[in-house]
Amino acid sequence: MRPLRSQDGSPRGDPAASMALLQEVLDRPLDPGYESSAHARQTRGLSPSTGSRTPLLLATAVLLGFLLAVAAQTLRTPDPAAAQARSELIERVRGSQHLVEEQAARIEGLHANLVALEDAGVQEDDGGHAEQVRAAGLHAGATAMVGPGVVVTLDDAPPPPASVDGVVVEDVERVLAGDLQVLVNGLWANGAEAVAINEQRLTSTSAIRFAGEAIVVDFRGLTRPYTVRAIGPVEDLEAELGSGATGRYLQDLRDQYGIITEVTPQDQITVPAATRLTTREAQVVPDSTIPSGQEDDR
């Protein structure tokens, strides 16, 4: 163990010897070389300091500045590349979203054409079929509907206030597909004639599922908040959502998980037409003037 120089005059005995490392680091950080060379110079009669004008010092200063500049540049350059890649990706995402919107509009237009053609085709038959098809379309969800009903909004629980050290708490209580299923089943069972979630019309073959992190209705993902619009007898629906089984389920969600639920009766609810009705059976009509068969099994 190197003997410690007592800097304040008090002798340091053996008990402090084990602290030598810490004290070496904390108490005497100045390189001892300075002191010993200052001593040496003094004994030779020179001033203890070599001053600030020696060429060696200048060269070292230049080298130091060079090192700092190079380090700063090298350790900073990765950023622009990543930022550029990110902004490029954002551009592409926006462009694709725009494309998706255009295509969706085109789908709407084509769908309207299809419906018009089908209607025209049905009209060519005797009137009985026309009524059947219209009624079937109504029940299946092929047409948009307007009427009085109930709007139920479900939303994820609000995140708890920012916890220790600003760490984001990940486990927010989310609305699950099962919740939506229970709600929609309750609505159907109590007289709802048309139900839509977030502008997605539910047909008799609609599936409400959970895929990854998103709720998927008819293979289309939905984002929160989930607005369920149901057209039907307002009193029955309200009663069910207030005090019936569905109402109790919603209350449980509110109390136990903090899921935000809101039930609002409305006089005018518009529910869009379903977009995923497919033709399952078709027959070519013997008369060749009509292009495609109209026997739809919806």
Binding site: G33, S37, T60, G65, L68, V70
Partner: protein, 110 residues
């Protein structure tokens, strides 16, 4: 003043030349910078105490950088690179703070 001028000249030269550092050298740059800072503050304190010696300064500067890089390199080879570099950074940081405190005492008497 002259050393400060030299420093600025070095920074300007570095910014102008923009040398590309080889990849294997990049992990040692932060440690080298901190070691250099430690030598600089030691030199500043010595200058304020009136016992500055340019030879000692250069030697401490170079040896700090080389030793720090060696320790990090050794740590990488042994698989404890992260921990060793943390240790080096902690010690150098402590020394820098001590030197700065001494400089502050010498300059401001506080």
């Amino acid at each position: 003043m002259i050393p400060v001028l030299g420093l600025m000249v070095g920074v300007v030269v570095g910014l102008l030349l923009q040398p590309t550092v080889p990849d294997w050298l990049v992990p040692y740059l932060p440690i080298a910078v901190i070691a250099a800072l430690d030598a600089v503050f030691g030199g500043l304190r010595a200058a304020l105490e009136g016992i500055f010696n340019d030879r000692v300064f250069v030697i401490s500067f170079l040896s700090n950088v080389v030793v720090a890089a060696l320790i990090v390199f050794l740590g990488n080879q042994l698989g404890v690179g992260g921990q060793l570099s943390t240790g080096v950074v902690v010690v150098l940081g402590l020394r820098i703070f001590s030197n700065v405190a001494a400089i502050r005492r010498l300059l401001l008497g506080a």
